[in-house]
């Protein structure tokens, strides 16, 4: 059992959870994730760790309601218990002084880049965070991002906050100015792929955090296979962060839709598919280049 110390709603259907998990908090590093199961009947679902407090013995997760588990989480309150929580899992992010690092967060992916921004900032990097959402109401953690970044650029689809447009637009401007040493992007798959395509011609190392379907999260099932650099790797133990320029995104998108046949029988069951659908129906800023182009 893991107790929810604090739950807050950050934006419609997007919630902040601070969870009591002393052993996880003691060992977790930026870039890692946990797997949780809400109750006896629940699925094991991975979530990126958004913040770590080893002193309090807590970790932070930011969860968007997209499937059954996340909807159940959305209905939970401070003081409730999560039945099972396993972590930290996966390889920690590579943190060193790279120079100028641009971090891109789309939608609730902003939560995942928060912990990265903090670690990279502490390591002496100049951290520029580009965060985007569809509109003002859906933008989360702007204040927290400002506290751990040298510069924050806010983008929105409708211009209701920050600049109107895709998160890749200011990135391209910075790349043209030649001031970027490294890029990390976390968000919907089409957004991460788009970021990789923007940086590729500039040869700037670009890291994305992948979140494919998993069961155990410890390397045992192989459900999270990803083709990277022509080799099959497991996101749970070899990742979850990979080089965007080496990642086979087309295959990744197919694989996240694996449970569509089940989904049609039960529209509430599959997290990843719903995530994919949410992305294609309601693109966040910079979230879906494909659907914008088509």
């Amino acid at each position: 059992m893991a107790k929810i110390l604090v739950k807050e709603t950050l934006a419609p259907n997007t919630h902040y959870f601070r969870i009591d998990a002393p052993l996880v908090a003691r060992h977790a590093k930026a870039g890692q994730f946990v797997i949780l199961r809400v109750d006896e009947l629940g699925e094991r679902v991975p979530f990126t760790i958004a913040d770590i407090d080893p002193v309090e013995g807590s970790i932070t997760l930011v969860i968007q309601e997209v499937g059954e588990t996340t909807r159940q989480m959305g209905a939970m309150k401070s003081g409730d218990d999560i039945r099972d929580l396993l972590g930290p899992l996966g390889m920690p992010s590579e943190i060193e002084n790279f120079g100028t690092v641009v971090l891109l967060g789309g939608g609730f992916g902003i939560a995942a880049i928060h912990v990265l921004a903090k670690a990279l900032h502490e390591a002496g990097n100049r951290v520029v965070s580009i965060i985007g959402s569809r509109n003002k109401d859906l933008l989360i953690m702007e204040k927290e991002m400002r506290a751990v970044s040298d510069e924050v650029i806010v983008m929105s689809d409708d211009g209701s906050i920050g600049r109107q447009g895709l998160v890749t637009e200011p990135l391209k401007e910075m790349l043209d100015a030649g001031t970027v040493d490294r890029v990390c992007a976390v968000g919907p798959i089409p957004m991460m792929r788009a970021v990789g395509e923007v940086t590729r011609p500039y040869g700037v190392k670009t890291i994305v955090s992948l979140n494919p379907v998993m069961v155990d999260g410890t390397g045992m099932c192989g459900g999270c296979r990803v083709e990277v650099g022509g080799k099959t790797l497991f996101a749970c133990v070899d990742g979850p962060e990979f080089d965007a320029h080496e990642t086979n995104f087309k295959e990744l998108i197919h694989r996240t839709r694996m449970f569509r046949p089940m989904e049609q029988r039960d529209p509430d069951s599959c997290r990843m598919l719903q995530q994919a659908d949410v992305v294609s129906q309601k693109p966040a800023a910079g979230a879906d280049h494909e659907s914008r182009e088509s």
Binding site: R44, L86, V215, T218, M220, C221, G223, H254, M258, M262
Partner: protein, 467 residues
């Protein structure tokens, strides 16, 4: 009864559920002996002075001893005999490959059929369960020593049971949310009912063993931290590691998965009861299971029970070379699994949106024996053909997970990542850290892992006493 009278009794076969009925449900296939049959079968044992069967048993059960108790009708006495060396008899009686171990060397079997030792073990274990015989409490006084066991599969549970009996305070660390390891996520219900595994875990808890679930040693807590936290010794039994794939084109298409993933979804996460249980499992109508081991048979027989049109076993050697137990192969065939032997997939074909629709195969023929002693399969030129499938389950083995090696300074491994062990004690290159089960190589059976667990418990007991 004299020996010649005993030798005249025919072996009693273990009854099985009707193949048609069982192919549609997850009920246990082997039914087990009743009391009368068990006693009659026990009468076949000639009580050898030098019982070869005991030498064939990885945990050296007093086989003639417990069988004599059965023939005398003293079933509680029989289970007591077994439990002195085997803490998980209801599991061993079901999943041990007795035909390669105790029963293979049974003297009665030299001229006729061996005594049905496995079925008799299962009978007394089931008797114990049925009458809820009290678990022997720990008799020795507490040693004051703490021992950590990493992994709750057969090696870990066995070690934990023996260490607790020796008076040590044992904590078992398990990454999953339920204890049992491969006994829970891997071996299907129809071969080993999960209630039995849960009862064994409950017994260990009664003996004072603690279980720390949702704890991945190497990530949630490290071995160095355990040793610093007054654990006098650690037994590593984390299991086989990561599933292997063939690295052929199309292997990441949707509909292709590892046997580990398929079996875990069905067994541990109960995906057969989707959507009440929230974990789904994908299964089409034409299933190919690649491999010829027990895991392949488990996957094929599990798939068969979920009602698809066709289930194939695709195996590159012939049926004779299959590592699976004869009984499993036989049961699979009875249940309607079709065997494509001397056949190897070369690539998978898929749709534009990434779903597997077919596998390209090649016929094989057997040539000279290879390192494993089995005849090596070589492709037959021009024998390529296409098999239409919409689901592929890859069951070709596992390789070690290197998490513990990476997170434990001083821990060493040899070829293929198996931990380097002292042959006599089972201790790794790190003092106080022992290992067993699949992480130590070996033959990847439940009973071999249990043998490792028992040996490690004895070594650990000596080690912590000297400390």
């Amino acid at each position: 009864m004299n020996v010649s009278e005993r030798l005249k009794i025919q072996r009693h076969e273990v009854p099985a559920l009707d193949a048609h009925h069982r192919a549609q449900c997850f009920e246990e296939v082997a039914v087990g002996f009743d009391e009368k049959t068990a006693r009659a079968e026990a009468d076949r044992c000639i009580q050898c002075k030098r019982p070869l069967c005991m030498e064939g048993c990885p945990v050296s059960i007093d086989i003639p001893g417990f069988i004599r108790k059965i023939s005398e009708g003293d079933f509680p006495g029989a289970i007591e005999r077994i439990r002195t060396t085997n803490s998980l008899p209801s599991i061993c009686g079901r999943v041990c490959p007795q035909e390669n171990q105790c029963e293979r060397v049974c003297v009665v079997g030299k001229k006729g059929e061996p005594v049905a030792i496995g079925a008799l073990e299962r009978f007394v274990a089931d008797f114990e369960r049925r009458y809820s015989l009290p678990v022997e409490g720990v008799k020795v006084k507490p040693s004051g020593r703490k021992v950590a066991v990493v992994g709750s599969g057969p090696a870990g549970l066995t070690a934990a049971g023996h260490l607790a009996q020796l008076g040590h305070a044992v904590t078992v660390f398990e990454a999953f949310h339920e204890a049992g390891g491969v006994l829970i996520y891997g071996i299907p219900e129809f071969r080993l009912p999960k209630a039995i595994v849960q009862e064994e875990v409950t017994k260990l808890r009664t003996m004072g063993v603690e279980f720390a679930l949702n704890t991945l040693v190497g990530r949630t807590i490290t071995i160095d931290e355990l040793l610093a936290d007054n654990y006098s010794a650690v037994f590593l039994a984390p299991g086989a590691g990561t599933p292997m794939f063939m690295n052929i084109p199309g292997e990441n298409l949707n509909g292709v998965c590892s046997a580990n993933e398929f079996l875990t979804r069905v067994n541990l996460m109960k995906a057969f009861d989707f959507p009440r249980q929230q974990t789904p499992v994908y299964l089409g109508q034409r299933i190919a299971v690649v491999g010829g081991g027990n895991t392949a048979m488990d996957a094929a027989r599990t798939a068969r029970r979920m009602g698809p049109d066709k289930v194939y076993i695709v195996y590159r050697r012939s049926e004779n070379e299959m590592p699976a137990r004869r009984e499993e192969v036989h049961h699979a065939q009875e249940e309607g699994v079709e065997f494509l032997t001397l056949t190897a997939p070369t690539q998978y074909i898929g749709t534009e949106d990434g779903w597997v629709t077919a596998m390209e195969c090649q016929r094989m023929e057997l040539s000279e024996p290879d390192a494993s002693g089995r005849r090596r399969p070589v492709p037959v030129v021009g024998s390529e053909f296409t098999l239409e499938v919409d689901t592929v389950i890859v069951a070709i083995g596992a390789k070690t997970n290197d998490l513990l090696l990476h997170t434990t300074p001083g821990l060493e491994a040899e070829r293929k990542g198996y931990l380097t062990l002292d042959k006599a004690t089972g201790m790794t290159s790190r003092p106080g850290v022992f290992a067993g089960g699949d992480i130590a190589g070996g033959e990847a059976t439940v009973i071999a892992a249990m043998g490792d667990g028992r040996r490690a418990a004895i070594s650990i007991d000596e080690y912590v006493k000297e400390k």
